[in-house]
Symmetry: C2
Amino acid sequence: MEGYLRSVRGEFEEKLAALVEIPSVSADPNHAEDIKRCAKTAALWLKAIGADSQVIQTAGHPVVIGRLQSHPSNPTVLIYNHLDVQPADASEWQHPPFSFSKVGDRYGGRGTTDDKGPALTALFAARFAKERKFPLNIQWIWELEEEIGSPNFEQFMRSHPHLTADSVVVSDTIWIARRHPTVPYGLRGLQTLVLTLQTHEKDVHSGLTGGVARNPIGELCELVSACYDAQTGHVKIPGFYDEVSPLTREEIEQFLRSGFQTSRYKKAHGLTKIRPHLTTEADVLSAIMAAPTFEVHGFVGGYSGPGIKTIVPHHAEVKISMRLVPNQKPNRIVKQVKAYLKRLNPDVRVEATQTLQPFLGPRRGFYADAARVAMKAGFGKDPVFVREGGSIGAVVTLQKQLRVPIIFLGLSLPEHGYHAKNENFDWGQAAGGMKMFVRYFEVLAKQGKR
Amino acid sequence: MEGYLRSVRGEFEEKLAALVEIPSVSADPNHAEDIKRCAKTAALWLKAIGADSQVIQTAGHPVVIGRLQSHPSNPTVLIYNHLDVQPADASEWQHPPFSFSKVGDRYGGRGTTDDKGPALTALFAARFAKERKFPLNIQWIWELEEEIGSPNFEQFMRSHPHLTADSVVVSDTIWIARRHPTVPYGLRGLQTLVLTLQTHEKDVHSGLTGGVARNPIGELCELVSACYDAQTGHVKIPGFYDEVSPLTREEIEQFLRSGFQTSRYKKAHGLTKIRPHLTTEADVLSAIMAAPTFEVHGFVGGYSGPGIKTIVPHHAEVKISMRLVPNQKPNRIVKQVKAYLKRLNPDVRVEATQTLQPFLGPRRGFYADAARVAMKAGFGKDPVFVREGGSIGAVVTLQKQLRVPIIFLGLSLPEHGYHAKNENFDWGQAAGGMKMFVRYFEVLAKQGKR
């Protein structure tokens, strides 16, 4: 394996450079052609290692699929990565974001860690598996709309029912600390809400109408405060916590072995003060990983320019989302919120705009054990099983469509600048990642069709 | 007097046309030269009737002053009007806003009713008083920054201590209904507040930090809700109502004779629903004219574009103002708010940005009686004494500097489109206004120096 790593390093770097230099920014319509070019390039590379590959159009950006078939009787693993990237403001970067840089073992450029580097790592591991004739079929899905919330992914999966597998491996997550391999087994879900209230026809003058005219911003503030305690984050919507399954002591103990440090976490996110009731690391980790939230993202309406305009606004909108945890049902929560808000203020329109189910994968059993063995092979250390506070829409779709175990074998580190300026990846994580994937494929292959 | 009215009508219309066609929009720096031209024109017209006049520069737009001196032993009345106007969006107007139109008795154009028409009405009455040799001195102050909150007026008054008078008459208010002459004797004050809260360095991702990171918009919503009940408008700041002197039954009865109709008021302001606890006209009138308020004007911070961005904002600002009523002391209120908010959330910065004292003028005694007699002479009917819900900074300054009675003899009607599109004035109000002013001057002159 070490010989293979040495032999492919140059090619890995060339390919990573080539991908970085295609600015596949899914959020920017001006990059639609780059996205197409990125998809074509990736599909050719799949072909080059002997896989069938295709670029599939969707209503938005395409999806690249590929399949390395050994024998129908062998198990199939589906590898999910995405090749689109976050936007990048070049003025904030030390090196231009869409120009590959290499300093020692470190590779710089937008997409290096999220998620082009991990995608290539898995590709090179798959090539090794193929060369060594592992009795395993490998199916790829490389999405190009992940960074914009996978708007067409569910439709894509529904219209490609032949894309089946015995398990899925996703490589798009971040360890909590270097040298602490981490395997997430849970994701929070998301339910967004837009509350709008129009109380009159146009903004009016607070001298002429103040006291008589209703104030939609004030009324929405009242609803926000009725929904949650902003100091502690405790949600006050009746029934909200009913279906939350509490963490076990053992889960929390795992979380605490992840290398997490509150001080480092605060520094990484620029949080000077966190909610004061979160006094221990267990409190903080449980809050991020396994507690639901209520969050206000912004207000629309009224006057928000410099100074003050003494108007009574006629219309206001507040943008809200709730992170939901495993066992909470988004549509049940939406019903609870709507009933509660209707009782408090029947004039407010409540619109549930986006739903992502929470996700809970295996943390015991064959696939979890395979992940444990693979991470140890790649990084010399047993991984800890944690949950992630975010939501990955594509994962929820994969679970819903395929109904097979999904394992996260992520390679990104906090210092890689995931979604941030000066994004980077490193050969240490790539090389360890190749060993990890190879070992994972090996375990899956050895076990055979289950 | 009727002969005088007939003889000056043509000149009145010419002068009003000339003023309307100078777009003296104080809010727009591009109109600074128009403002100057307007001031010069007005000063010349004062000279033309025999007054001393001057255009006085301030740090902003100029002020026009003038004085018709009969004899030092005669009483002096100071007439306050303003000659700057609100901006106008021509696309919303039936006729171009800065081109004078005349249809029958109705004069159209920006500034016709606010406040160029009333200013000219008083000027023509003063000319009559001069021609008839009323033993009265008349002092003018024509401001050109009223529509932007009179930012330099206090400084102007302080640096011109010779501008004294025995009383002030202000003509810049609106009747509640045509054929219901109205004399306001009270104004609400204003205290603006900007609450800002920064909880961390930059917006963070609610998946990675939600539950742990504080949310400044949520915390400010909580404070807004702690400050007032948005449903009723009741202010919850401890001590807020302590100094409010309640209305007398008699005051409310006057208000009810003003021609006010809740249905017409709602229609005029486009208010479909008003606060539901205001069930009678007395409730509504008391709420506008003599109750303090707490109002939220807008939020800054977070995400307010289309859709939702699942960020936890790092900073938020909420723009607030309170209308205050006679006997409430703005600086005492500010202290109460600051103490209350500090207790609730010590991290929030509370900035008191603008203060206007509430105003209470005479509604009994010599000047109130003179106003009553004058209104009856002009419009054939006893006026009712009401209060206004708005604040006029210049009036508060005049009271503070001159310490003499201030009487409001306004001429605008609700249908004149004050601060609105298709602003207009009419000869009925101008002619009645001239009679009113002449009679008012006559009463003041007859009484002599008090």
